[in-house]
């Protein structure tokens, strides 16, 4: 593992400690559990974002892919437990499909990632709003099926195990498989990777597809957490996913980074907000401090190398 993962973990530890000192109850398991659950949503979207950032890309379609998946889930699940598998499959499928189209556009049509995913965000937003008639459709009011909501109950919510599973999946994929090697090679030098027989386009498509899948997963979990789908559910997660990736020590230029760092990054971001809320800092103060914390972290270990 690299040095930046260590930094990311250290920062997360410092913020959590600070929270424990500043606000009573933060250090307790219920307090920590709340932070972990909220951080898991960031963790899911950041997993996808990280995968595309590793090859020097970016996914701006996360907000509405997430939102679309959330609405697909509630409108096909209809609040019934026995419809949940179908609803899950459709929601994840929608995310994967959007990601696949992103990947094909970027890799095969050569559309810059910013443009392709920005366009996809618009397409998903339009489709979601249009098909659900602005979330006024007959099925739109349904709650998430009970088993999904149960993921967030108990001393150790099963949602956290889902996050653990996702973390294992991403880590194993990147560090132990040939696919992972090809990902890092593509990120480090796409031309050299291509000339060494790496199917750069295929790798790229797979990563964008996975990112779509992770955005959908986040949408599903958010619906389970909140009970219902809403419009604008994904909006906070666009910049939050990028911030988590970078605070997690992943190089925005590609080729470097590990998901463990991103987990720490997600924790840091959510803990900062939680601590500030507990301190009753008003929203404008939270936003400003949040920005300054990210800036400070960037200065600490997010700098590019000197020029000479």
């Amino acid at each position: 593992m690299n040095r930046r993962v260590g930094y990311a973990a250290a920062v997360a530890a410092v913020v959590l400690l600070l929270g424990a000192v500043l606000s009573p109850g933060f250090a307790s398991w219920p307090g920590l559990r709340a932070v972990l659950v909220v951080a898991s949503f960031t963790g899911f979207v950041a997993a996808g974002q990280m995968l595309v950032v590793l090859v020097g890309g970016i996914d701006l379609s996360i907000p509405w892919v997430l939102n679309a998946a959330a609405i697909v889930l509630t409108t096909t699940g209809l609040g019934m437990a026995d419809r949940l598998p179908l609803a899950l499959a459709l929601a994840i499928g929608a995310g994967l499909l959007a990601g696949l189209v992103n990947g094909l556009g970027v890799a095969w049509l050569g559309v810059p990632a910013v443009v392709m995913t920005l366009g996809m965000n618009g397409v998903m937003q339009g489709l979601t709003l249009g098909v659900s008639q602005g979330l006024t459709c007959g099925e739109c009011g349904h709650y998430a099926p009970q088993p999904l909501r149960d993921l967030f109950a108990g001393t150790v919510p099963a949602a956290l195990l889902v996050w653990l599973g996702a973390a294992l999946f991403v880590t194993v994929l990147l560090t132990l498989t040939t696919f992972g090697r090809r990902v890092y090679a593509t990120g480090a030098n796409p031309r050299a990777a291509y000339l060494s027989g790496v199917g750069v386009k295929g790798v790229t498509v797979a990563l964008y597809t996975l990112s779509g899948g992770f955005a959908a997963l986040a949408g599903i979990m958010l619906v389970g957490y909140g009970g219902q789908a809403s419009l604008g559910l994904g909006d906070p997660y666009l910049f939050e996913s990028i911030a988590a990736v970078v605070v997690g020590g992943v190089s925005i230029l590609g080729g470097r980074g590990h998901y463990l760092g991103v987990v720490a990054g997600s924790l840091t971001l959510v803990a900062v907000t939680t601590v500030l809320r507990a301190q009753q800092v008003p929203e404008h103060g939270r936003l400003m401090i949040y920005g300054l914390v990210i800036l400070a972290i960037l200065f600490a270990y997010g700098r590019e190398r000197a020029h000479d």
């Binding site: 970016i58 701006l60 556009g105 049509l109 050569g110 559309v111 810059p112 910013v114 443009v115 392709m116 920005l118 366009g119 996809m120 965000n121 618009g122 397409v123 998903m124 937003q125 339009g126 489709l127 709003l129 249009g130 008639q133 602005g134 910049f239 990028i242 911030a243 970078v246 925005i252 230029l253 929203e283 404008h284 103060g285 939270r286 936003l287 400003m288 401090i289 949040y290 920005g291 300054l292 990210i294 800036l295 960037l298 200065f299 997010g302 700098r303 590019e304 190398r305 000197a306 020029h307």
Partner: protein
Amino acid sequence: MPAVRDLQDRLGYVVLAATALAYFAVYTTSLGRPPGSFDYLAILNTTMPLVLVALGQSLVVLTGGIDLSVGGVVSLCVAITAATGGTPGWILAVLLLGTLCGLVNGLVVAYGRIAPILTTLATLSVYTGAALWVLPVPGGSIAPEVRAVLSNPNAPTGLGWLALAVAGWWVLRRTRFGMRVYAVGSDETAARAVGVPVERVKAKVYALSGLCSAAAAVFYVATTTAGDANAGAPFILTSIASVVVGGVAFTGGKGSAMGAVAGAVALTLVIDVLFFAGIDPLYQSLFQGLFLVVAVLLGTGAALLARRRSA
């Protein structure tokens, strides 16, 4: 094949022309008469803020950077303008503040060596917070005489300001600074090696982007006659979209701010086209998204064709 390559360079104008034609056609068929001067003026006044933000964004993109904080700077400046009633003195102060916000970005990017997307992501949060602080609830006002000068709904004052923006770019392009902007975007290391003061160029470019965002904020308040601390948020993605449609390359060094201006106008027109074409407004972003991707595909397609022919 210079003619085809020109299409890539002039993507913004081509797209604008196509969109304007479509606008004219759907307007005329749906209302039974061609659009009049009042319609053009309304479009001009609506589009001015985006034109200005896109202008600043394109400068940054030309150096190979990106400015996400335009959303925050616009919000902050909207908040201050509306909260103070937008008197000329305050407008000047707002323009200065916007420039300063941009300069901070530039200094962090250039001397702090932090990637532009990350720097401006962080400052976006700071500036948005500041905007909320100034104007916690939407409201405020703007002096009527300022409104009459900036975005008069009955007189084409906006045209003058648009011309000023275009002229500003024209002059900038022909200064040594203008050449250096392209040099930095083209190859930073090489530019440094031949004596271009890369750091100063970057700092200035971000400061200019801040100034453009501040000016956009003033126009925004003049047009809507009130302020909202979240007014800037949509400009992040729309300014990037304008730059893209305008044919400015994200790798830097290629394109023109005028393309981005054309792109901004085209993006505004598309909304009207969809409206007059009778498309459910809920589907609006679907078509905007497609428009963005198709416009860029058109550009890359042309570039590909040019390469094929010359090979």
